[in-house]
């Protein structure tokens, strides 16, 4: 595996040779700095820790300051570990987009979904609502309906899908194609959509 940390910029369209318009997401990926190397001997697994995004020194905790100092870099906002990175690195090395991705690659993108707040079952779980507006229905068109039987089992089963907080969770979108790379601005153009708001952090894995 290999990957980078990035920031979602927004969406636009690109056209392929067949004249087909492709919805695509623009991500500013990297440059990332190697801040720690996990080894089999010391940690029991192999991984590379990458850091991305500038951060003020006064906003960084002292333990993290020391961590970045050991890697020989300035403080960073986001730190992510990538297990079994495809290549070997030394501490403090800077990774740019061209080192990891090429046009035509298929990548997975991890992001944090926009928070939707408290939502009903129709939006949250895709329920169909109670049916029509007639036959005595007057105020429960988007309700869940029955949540179980009566004296047996005399309780509501655990995990039953109900209304509640939606969004704000971590989601991975798999197999998105890299349409274009603009190395000067560290831009990665990926076909399809990606979870999260603009300016939010995303992890791109290959």
């Amino acid at each position: 595996m290999s990957g980078l940390i990035g920031k979602k910029i927004g969406m636009t369209s690109l056209y392929d040779a067949d004249g087909q318009a492709l919805a695509c997401t623009v991500i500013q990926a990297g440059p990332c700095v190697v801040t720690q190397l996990r080894t089999e001997e010391k940690d029991g697994y192999k991984a590379v820790q990458l850091a991305y995004g500038e951060k003020k020194e006064k906003n960084t905790t002292k333990p993290m300051l020391g961590h970045f100092k050991a890697a020989g870099t300035t403080p960073k906002r986001k730190v992510v570990e990538f297990k079994y990175f495809a290549r070997e690195f030394e501490l403090g090395k800077t990774l740019t987009i061209g080192d990891v991705f090429a046009e035509g690659d298929f990548v997975d993108v991890v992001g944090k979904v926009k928070g939707r707040g408290f939502q009903g079952v129709v939006k949250r779980h895709g329920f169909g609502g109670v049916g029509g507006q007639t036959h005595g229905q007057h105020n429960r068109a988007r309700h869940p309906g029955s949540i179980g039987a009566c004296s047996f089992p005399s309780r509501v089963f655990k995990g039953l899908r109900m209304a509640g907080r939606m969004g704000g969770n971590r989601v991975t979108i798999q197999n998105l194609r890299v349409l274009k790379i603009i190395p000067e601005q560290n831009l990665l153009v990926i076909s399809g959509s990606v979870p999260g708001a603009k300016e939010s952090f995303v992890i791109i894995e290959k």
């Binding site: 910029i9 690109l14 056209y15 004249g19």
Partner: protein, 120 residues
């Protein structure tokens, strides 16, 4: 919009400057490239422009309506689409709105659009 997104959109091949400056109400001919069994040919599609959406963006499209064998056809083209070979402007129309959805409810004589005559 973000400058970075504009940078990505700039990589689309933009041939808008080759096309005539058409508006809703105009009659145009769109030369569409069609690929059939590895061969490419041109198909002409002539009709009235109903609207232009999202102008000056990468997603700009225009809708062309025509009556084909008595059946109305509306076709939406992305203006940056590489399958458009050429656009010809046949006739300018005199219309008072940007989106001509009222044409859908009309037939024959009622669906006519007056020609815009510019004084020179």
């Amino acid at each position: 919009m973000s400058e970075l997104i504009k940078l990505v959109e700039a990589t689309n091949e933009n041939r808008k400057s080759e096309y005539p400056d058409f508006k809703s109400g105009d009659t145009i001919v769109v030369h569409v490239k069609i690929r059939e069994g590895g061969k490419e040919r041109l198909q002409l599609y002539q009709g009235t422009v109903m609207q232009r959406r999202n102008p000056n963006s990468a997603g700009e499209t225009f809708t062309v309506r025509k009556i084909s064998n008595g059946i109305a056809v509306e076709r939406i083209f992305p203006i940056l689409s590489p399958s458009i070979a050429k656009i010809e402007l046949l006739r300018r129309g005199k219309v008072r709105r940007a989106r001509l959805f009222y044409l859908r409810g009309r037939q024959g004589k009622a669906a006519r659009i007056k020609e815009l005559k510019t004084s020179k």
